[in-house]
Symmetry: C2
Subunit: 234 residues, 2 copies
């Protein structure tokens, strides 16, 4: 079973590395880190990771996965990447994302009419693509499974392996990873944080979020023009 994980410059690496650790515990899952070249890819925090396969040579995905991060903005208007995702999605059993990866899937026309989630700062931008934003940590809508911001990738991946391999094996992986989280503070989501802190982060990120929204709008317009929203998942 091939799991194809898109690895691109400016991703938030934990969006990918959290799920990767979960997937690596299931020998059935052949993991492919796909990008345009095999050169190292640098994440938004400066970590350098190596792709394992090019987009051109990537085998067909049983599970397609897209992480988020600031680099996601450029991907929404990158025809080569969007074509790759559309091609890979056709035969995939699950099309998945963490964080703003869902906006890339949406820009490829793969989420039209679906329920999905994203990082809390970007969740509403899904509407630009005709996607119903859902303020939950992991959202399963048929073949589409999406996780919210960054750290939700671990919850997302455990949910996905439970769908694929059953709950007992997912629990086995969870215990091996000692996943009994104990956040040092409350407030890891805007619903529970002090409103002033969420407002501060919204203000600090407003210029970038505005750019992201403009790129998403352009991507949505291009998608509508191409009528590519018609890609249907299995």
């Amino acid at each position: 079973m091939n799991i194809v994980m898109l690895l691109y410059p400016g991703l938030t690496q934990l969006d990918l590395t959290g799920p990767f650790d979960v997937f690596a515990r299931f020998p059935e899952l052949q993991r492919h880190l796909a990008w345009k070249t095999l050169d190292p890819v640098t994440d938004s925090g400066g970590l350098r990771l190596l792709p394992s396969v090019t987009l051109a040579q990537c085998p067909p995905a049983d599970i397609l996965f897209v992480p988020g991060g600031p680099g996601q903005l450029a991907l929404m208007e990158d025809g080569e990447v969007l074509d790759f995702l559309r091609r890979q999605a056709v035969g995939a059993r699950y099309v998945t994302s963490v964080c703003t990866g869902s906006l890339v899937l949406a820009a490829a026309g793969l989420l039209a009419g679906r329920r999905a989630t994203s990082h809390w700062l970007s969740l509403e931008q899904l509407r630009l693509f005709g996607v119903e934003p859902v303020d939950e940590r992991v959202v399963v809508d048929g073949a589409v499974v999406t996780g919210a911001g960054v750290t939700s990738g671990i919850d997302f991946a455990l949910t996905l392996v439970a769908l694929l391999f059953g709950e007992p094996r997912a629990r086995h992986a969870q215990l091996f990873m000692e996943y009994d989280p104990a956040p040092p503070f409350a407030g890891g989501t805007p619903r529970t944080s002090e409103p002033a802190l969420a407002a501060l982060i919204r203000a600090e990120t407003a210029p970038f979020q505005q750019k992201r929204r403009e790129a998403a709008q352009r991507a949505a317009d291009a998608l509508a023009a191409h009528a590519a929203g018609a890609v249907s998942l299995t």
Copy 2:
């Protein structure tokens, strides 16, 4: 402020990548991924990461960090690595680890008489080095801060940045990472799992854990012979 993170073959990458994502949100923290060469390092799950500096050229650490993973076994008897850790620890404000990384710190003589934690399967092996095992997710004992298995790295790192930069900034990072975990199942620790599942994992890993224990015993004997347990942290 230099944070030196040991990157070695056979680490469990999430031990490192979880904390890395937290640290990357603090521009004061210069992150150095140190290994013997600059060649790619492959984690126990097959992810390839690039070191940023060699052990020989690494700047002095303000914070020293060692992740765990099956490759940790060899490190406990690797004089070059143990010397590096001792040298780096002398001037460090915090000496830290996640998962079985604490056994490497212990083998370097840096944890003698301290309270520390580790992955639940290996926790008791700390006693071989005169370290008090503590069955908690994050343990702060003065300059020594340790996290339990794999996913505890996120809790560990948020605790550490709160010590370094204060709680408000740690909360800011936590909200940005949307760290409001919702494990799909209970039982992420042996205290809460079905006893049969923990027993199964103990049985499956018994041969490797025996090798790890033998290596730890040899390392403890070597440490006692060198009286290197006298390295004192600031």
